[in-house]
């Protein structure tokens, strides 16, 4: 192999290195809020196939918050959900908004804003199912599907334990398939997610469990200045008609 070819490759790679890392220090006077999210959780954040842009309830909310907090622009950085907190801790993003539930464990490593959304767990069955649920006890003895590691999964385990047969799946999509295939009879998943596919698939929501979970915006631990700005902005927005408009846009009325 010729030295020239290797040399050429080396130049190519150096060029790529310079090109891809040089753009970050913009030097412009704009105040940019760098937002971390995981665009695989509609309707909170997802990629719009028509425009190719990341959009959703969370995205529009953070843009409103940023504007109120005095930022000129928002830069959305999409990544795997599990990478979000490390990204916050290492300063790769300023805030994280990703339908992230406020939990004690997470509070140990990041600081959360005031809650901006209350999430419930929906109990979903097949449309032709005769199962009715008027209380948690009605779930006893059933085969329940959940998404691994979610608050729904934890809730069922804590409250019903081995009074149900629990099947865990890596994603809510897989759990939905299991319900449709008959491998499980009941699904327990986040309400917004459930509402997403009750129109398209033959399933219905028969009960809503109030698990008292709340979503929050996360900032790096100790970043009180930013947190205060965000909280103030959130309070203003949530008390304004803009909030109702946003909720109606993504969740109907």
């Amino acid at each position: 192999m010729d030295g020239k070819i290797i040399g050429g490759l080396l130049v190519l790679m150096l060029a790529a290195a310079v090109a891809s890392s040089g753009c970050i220090s913009g030097g412009s006077k704009e105040k940019v809020l760098v937002v971390g999210t995981s665009a695989d959780f509609p309707p909170f954040e997802y990629k719009d196939p028509q425009t190719g842009n990341i959009t959703g309830f969370d995205i529009e909310l953070i843009k409103m918050v940023a504007k109120k907090a005095g930022y000129d622009k928002v830069e959305i950085k999409d990544m795997d959900f599990d990478s979000l907190i490390p990204a916050l801790q290492t300063g790769k993003v300023d805030v994280v908004i990703a339908g992230m539930t406020i939990t004690e464990k997470r509070k140990q490593v990041v600081d959360f804003s005031i809650p901006y959304w209350k999430a419930d767990q929906a109990v979903v069955v097949r449309k032709d199912s005769s199962i009715t649920v008027s209380s948690l006890d009605d779930l006893k003895g059933k085969v329940i599907g959940v998404e691994k590691g979610t608050t729904g999964a934890i809730y069922i385990k804590d409250n019903l334990g081995d009074q149900v047969t629990l099947k865990e799946y890596n994603s809510y999509v897989a759990a939905l398939q299991a319900l449709l295939n008959g491998q499980v009879d009941v699904l327990v998943i986040d309400s917004p997610v459930a509402n997403m596919f009750t129109n398209k698939y033959d399933v219905k929501v028969v009960y809503t469990i109030n698990t008292n979970e709340h979503y929050g915006i996360a900032v790096k631990k100790g970043n009180k200045e930013l947190l205060d700005k965000i909280n103030k902005a959130l309070q203003d927005i949530m008390n304004s008609p803009d909030w109702n408009k946003l909720v109606e846009k993504y969740f109907g009325s």
């Binding site: 790679m13 891809s20 795997d80 990478s83 129109n199 698939y201």
Partner: protein, 229 residues
Amino acid sequence: MITSTSVPLDIALRMLLNGAKTTIVLSVFSILLGLLIGLPVALMETYGGKTLRRVAMVYEGTLRGIPLLAIYFVIFYSMPMLIGLGLSPFLAAVVGLGIRSSAYQSQIFRSGIQAVDEGQIEAALSLGMSQWQIIRHIVLPQALRMSIPAWMNEYVIVLKDTSIALALGIVELTRQATYLVSITAEPFRYYGLAALFYLAMVLPLTYLANWMGKRYGIKGTGGAMDVRL
């Protein structure tokens, strides 16, 4: 109200195609970085003195022993904290996959080097050639040719492993498919399409590898394959 929707096929294909382009670019940069580092490491390990050999062995042993995702997290998250060197996601992805591949490539080249017949080396030495001349003119030309099939296989592996870069936020083929799946709740369709895209990229490479192996391979070194049945 946003409900799960269907995505028109042409738009979905466009998204997946963009992802495939990123996959290919990532894989090319990574395999080349792997080559740039892997070949010298192979030489160090075969011809180096005790220290050089030990360094090479530790390098490739460590990188072959750590999962790629862990390598990515160290480069992308730990490195900035420890030594203050931050890389963009793309660069981190290329460097991570590149050095991982360099570890495997060093082993590929090493076996190619070791497959060169000793008799040739002895003959070259008796002619008064220096070690470097022997490596450059006798060993490497043959070793590299014999390494082609295994190297092409490594490229296929690198191409598939680019999907792990989605953890860093790189929007490659698998991530595009995940976007589509999360909007439509149709995993079979979109992960299936993504699989077809991967196949479309890998199958031609496999044929190319076989063809190159036959065209550039050295007759007499193919073992049982040299016997035309």
